[in-house]
């Protein structure tokens, strides 16, 4: 079997909020997993592959084999590592297992919450991840925290600043991207920032500086929440509850260890160009045929860069490309119609899963109030330049 013989048969997105302290990460994960299974018309009895973040209680935190006891039967496939349980990387690895016959129904997902009703809570912190954790910045000579004060937003700022210098990308262009995606979230009742707009580019430019060239409204929010995907074969998907959405193509690209290398544009500025070519070739579609873009948007600028990366425009032309409503709902290339990480939710690792959830809802025609008309092909991306790795998937109706 090939990747395109694998389908995304179920999706779920739990509530997303700045802080979720009335439930635990486990309980929210359980809700996400069962929600995605119910969406597909399946139950935990059907699951034989688990790429689901496991934080306890019970089992061994970090060991996805722990899910076997909770599902009440042995599993045939598990993932290891936080990023293997989310988004395109999680889906592509699970799909590979399904395509090769290792398992038949796999779930990808997880959640963050800080409630402590049972052990296993914990809240994600964009800031904390930027220091000493994933975002140890670029130096990390000898390990320990980054002594120069790099963190996620600042790392992406280093890339943006050089792009402005080399190609003349403007703050106005970045502000339009941020305002457009934030306005999508403003209109989405499920978004953390629902009703907080509308925004004009001028509002972005007038918000307080965080790490030049970025102001507060250029940078994604920090929240909590859960999401999950269920994958199985296209053959099985035809007998399930939802319209069939297949994984048409996918690709990954790793420059070096995540968040290292100082976010030097000449090293990471074109990260993902090769992956995008491979993904679109596998999918058999051209970049301009993409009806929906569900792009990683930790900052306004990364969206601009990713259009260059995907081949929609040339290197350096992303700023002008995104001007004039191109990426708005109703524009030529609608992007992050649910509000993205800027306004819907950045919730830790599972924001990666949310990118695919939105693709599936749009392809099924179930994106209430934000539906992209005649959506047949959608692309989701996770991570990007400053992170030094990227994962992407192309999904479509078949």
């Amino acid at each position: 079997m090939r990747l395109r013989d694998v389908a995304l048969v179920g999706v779920s997105c739990t509530r997303q909020a700045r802080v979720i302290d009335d439930t635990s990460a486990f309980d929210l994960t359980w809700e996400a997993v069962n929600g995605a299974l119910a969406d597909a018309g399946l139950t935990t009895d059907d699951v034989d592959g688990a790429a689901i973040q496991f934080l306890g209680p019970g089992g061994v935190p970090g060991d996805c084999g722990s899910w076997a006891r909770l599902f009440g039967h042995p599993l045939r496939f598990i993932a290891d590592g936080m990023l293997d349980t989310a988004g395109a990387r999680g889906a592509l690895k699970a799909a590979s297992a399904i395509a090769t016959g290792l398992c038949d129904v796999a779930v990808v997902g997880g959640a963050t919450a800080s409630g402590t009703r049972v052990p296993g809570g914990g809240s994600p912190s964009f800031e904390a991840r930027g220091v000493g954790g994933l975002g140890s910045g670029g130096v990390a000579i000898g390990g320990g925290g980054d002594p120069f004060g790099s963190y996620v937003a600042a790392n992406f700022a280093l890339v943006a600043q050089r792009h402005m210098y080399d190609f003349g990308t403007t703050r106005q262009q970045m502000a339009e991207v941020a305002a457009t995606i934030r306005n999508n979230g403003h209109r989405n009742p499920q978004a953390v920032m629902f009703g907080r707009g509308p925004y004009e580019p001028g509002d972005v430019l007038a918000s307080r500086p965080v790490a030049t060239p970025f102001n507060l409204l250029d940078i994604c929010l920090v929240a909590q929440g859960g999401a999950a995907l269920v994958l199985s074969t296209v053959e099985r998907a035809r007998d399930l509850r939802q319209p069939v959405v297949a994984l048409l193509g996918g690709a990954m690209e790793f420059n070096r260890a995540a968040w290292t290398g100082g976010s030097v544009y000449r090293d990471c500025g074109m990260l993902g160009v090769d992956a995008a070519r491979r993904m679109y070739a596998m999918a058999g579609v051209s970049p301009a045929d993409t009806d929906l873009f569900s792009l990683y948007d930790p900052t306004s600028f990364e969206v601009i860069r990713q259009f260059e990366m995907l081949g929609l425009c040339k290197e350096g032309e992303g700023g002008p490309f995104t001007e004039g409503g191109t990426i708005a709902l109703g524009g030529r290339f609608p992007t992050n119609p649910e509000g993205g990480c800027l306004s819907h939710a950045w919730n830790g690792t599972q924001q990666m899963t949310l990118k695919l959830v939105e693709c599936v809802l749009q392809l099924r025609g179930q994106a209430d109030g934000r539906q992209v008309p005649d959506c047949e092909v959608a692309v989701a991306t996770n991570a990007g330049s400053g992170a030094q790795h990227i994962e992407m998937a192309c999904v479509g109706r078949i």
Partner: protein
């Protein structure tokens, strides 16, 4: 508190020993002579072994960000996070630009290494205008 400090290991200890002496050193390949940073187990360009070479300590700002909201409360803001091309652009390091106002920093600005002792063990290599 104070900013987080690196923990030297077997591979990186010579870098920190040199910094303590006021010297900037960098991995230089035994075979192709190219420099790389941060240090890897083998030369990333040709897979050979390498030795520590002494850098001129002179470079130009490749990119930077004036950080107004710090990585943690341990950092006084604003500060300048930067990548500096060192030794004629043969290698690049992440650092802070000091010795000028943050809004005076520009891409391409000539800078020179300056050594700031944090404690008896760790001296950070920062860069200032030259």
């Amino acid at each position: 508190m104070g900013r987080p400090l690196p923990v030297p290991d077997a591979m990186t200890a010579p870098y920190w020993e040199a910094a303590r002496r006021g010297q900037l050193v960098v991995p230089e390949c035994d075979a192709c002579a190219r420099r790389h940073f941060p240090p890897e187990a083998r030369c990333p360009y040709c897979r050979s072994t390498w030795h520590w070479a002494v850098s001129s300590g002179e470079g130009e700002v490749y990119t930077f960000s004036v950080v107004h909201r710090g990585a943690s409360p341990d950092f006084a803001v604003p500060y300048v996070l930067a990548d500096v091309d060192v030794d004629g652009g043969t290698w690049t390091t992440t650092t802070n630009i000091v010795g000028c106002e943050p809004d005076e920093v520009r891409i391409g600005m000539p800078v020179r290494a300056t050594f700031e002792a944090q404690n008896d063990e760790i001296t950070l290599v920062l860069f200032a205008p030259r």
